[in-house]
Symmetry: C2
Subunit: 254 residues, 2 copies
């Protein structure tokens, strides 16, 4: 059955969008049918795959003013579709307040899509607010990108606490698929110290694949392409391909 | 009269907190009396200066359950005080909804402090939500840290639009003090292309000082210190000192 993978970390700039785009693209390149859902009003995942703001998007789907078919977009990458976002989605944060079962809006909206995809990857904003809670309630699994620096490490226990609360009250099936070390700079002691701290805490849930700092990953979105299309031989592309293979292999062993 | 400088950018991880801490510390080292206000529920600025979560903080001040004197903290850096934050502050995002004049809460709470400080620097979350709007309404000036990469560039026009709306409806005196290029990696074409784009658009409002990538800036908060205390001779410390001098000089010329 369909895996729904929420990419979550309330710390800003740790590689959520870069991971959501490139893991989704890598899984698609390995033959999976993949849907990338952009759940961030800043719409970086959408813009990074060349989809402009302004058309029917996730906001309209959640608000009930568009059908799911109106919002889905093909991308230029075989096997990868996109459910985009733009600033309209900010409305959701206010409109959800006081609404019963608001946590289930996203799960209900994407339920009809599950039959069409092997994987649904959800890119989340840098917060633990309504949109992220929706993603965690809809998800089967969470992937946590983590930059090996102090502020990112600081935020981990709060993130784990939020996941636990959602497992307890809203979504008992939710699992942590893995913690992914991103933008890793092996030259610094800080990176290695934080990596060791993370591995001590999360043990086998830390992906063996580590994504290095590679400018190709930062350039690709400016061309509206995943790094696989932009520069398949780059260290960044090879890392996300390796991550996709590891992700599939771990599922097989679970 | 007191400058109130909001450090704002809705993109995550562009160096808002690193700039807020280290510009505040640099201004204090040059003899200014400085207050750093942490307006981010993630409390990175507070933790980065060694102040733990859990005590009376900005949330209690805004909620009216604490006096300003209960929340102010001295730091280990001469001339630098802190008004801290922690997760409690998330409550504000919900509690402000529907409250009249909610945009003025921060301005009113810090008004009595203006006589005690030359500069009040406000660290904001990666969003344009209630807390950031409060900071922009309270501020005399905005400083925009900008990482020279595609997603950060994408967010600029929206940020400028928000500043304009606040100038028009809430705070006509608000000025953009400057755009600061952060984490600059001169080796990549991407960085230089984005820098040129930003300079074309913002012209003289871009600080001449550019903050390079320097691991000391990432290490300092793990010791609860500004980079000036942690490693004054580092490129990171020298960059923020140069920024402080440029900031003061630009004021003198304004
Ligand atoms: N491994 C990497 N090497 C080089 N640059 C990277 C890498 N991963 C991400 N980046 C760049 O770093 C910046 C932050 O990454 P990204 O936007 O994916 O993080 P995020 O967690 O989604 O941020 P936000 O919290 O704002 O949503 C972007 O400019 C991105 O292109
Ligand atoms: N010039 C620099 N060189 C090296 N590391 C840096 C530099 N500036 C910031 N950092 C590190 O980069 C990460 C992101 O910076 P920071 O937390 O200040 O950004 P932010 O905009 O406040 O993020 P958020 O949106 O989550 O509040 C942090 O781990 C920080 O220590
Ligand atoms: Mg993102
Ligand atoms: Mg910050």
């Amino acid at each position: 059955s369909t895996q729904i993978l929420a990419v979550v970390n309330q710390k800003g700039g740790v590689g959520k969008t870069t991971t959501a785009i490139n893991l989704a693209a890598a899984l698609a390149s390995l033959g999976e049918r993949v849907l990338l859902v952009d759940a961030d009003p800043q719409g970086n995942a959408s813009r990074g795959l060349g989809v402009a703001a302004g058309d029917a998007n996730l906001y309209h789907l959640l608000a009930g003013s568009a059908e799911v078919g109106d919002t889905l977009r093909k991308t230029a990458e075989p096997g990868l579709d996109l459910l985009p976002a733009d600033r309209d989605l900010v409305g959701v944060e206010v409109e959800f307040v006081g609404q019963p079962r608001w946590q289930w809006s996203l799960a209900e909206a994407i339920a009809p899509l599950r039959q069409h995809y092997d994987r649904i990857v959800v890119d989340c904003p840098p917060s633990l607010g309504h949109l992220t809670v929706n993603a965690l309630t809809a998800a089967t699994d969470v992937l946590v990108p983590l930059q090996c620096e102090y502020f990112a490490l600081e935020g981990v226990s709060e993130l784990v606490g939020t996941i636990r609360r959602i497992q307890a009250s809203l979504n008992p099936q939710l699992e942590i698929a893995g913690v992914l070390l991103t933008m890793f700079d092996e030259r610094t002691n800080l990176s290695r110290d934080v990596m060791n701290e993370i591995r001590r805490h999360f043990e086998r849930r830390v992906y063996r694949t580590v994504v290095p700092r590679n400018v190709r990953l930062a350039e690709a979105p400016s061309h509206g392409q995943s790094v696989l299309r932009y520069d398949l031989r780059s260290r960044g592309a090879q890392a996300y391909l390796a991550l996709a293979r590891e992700h599939l292999r771990r599922e097989g062993e679970a």
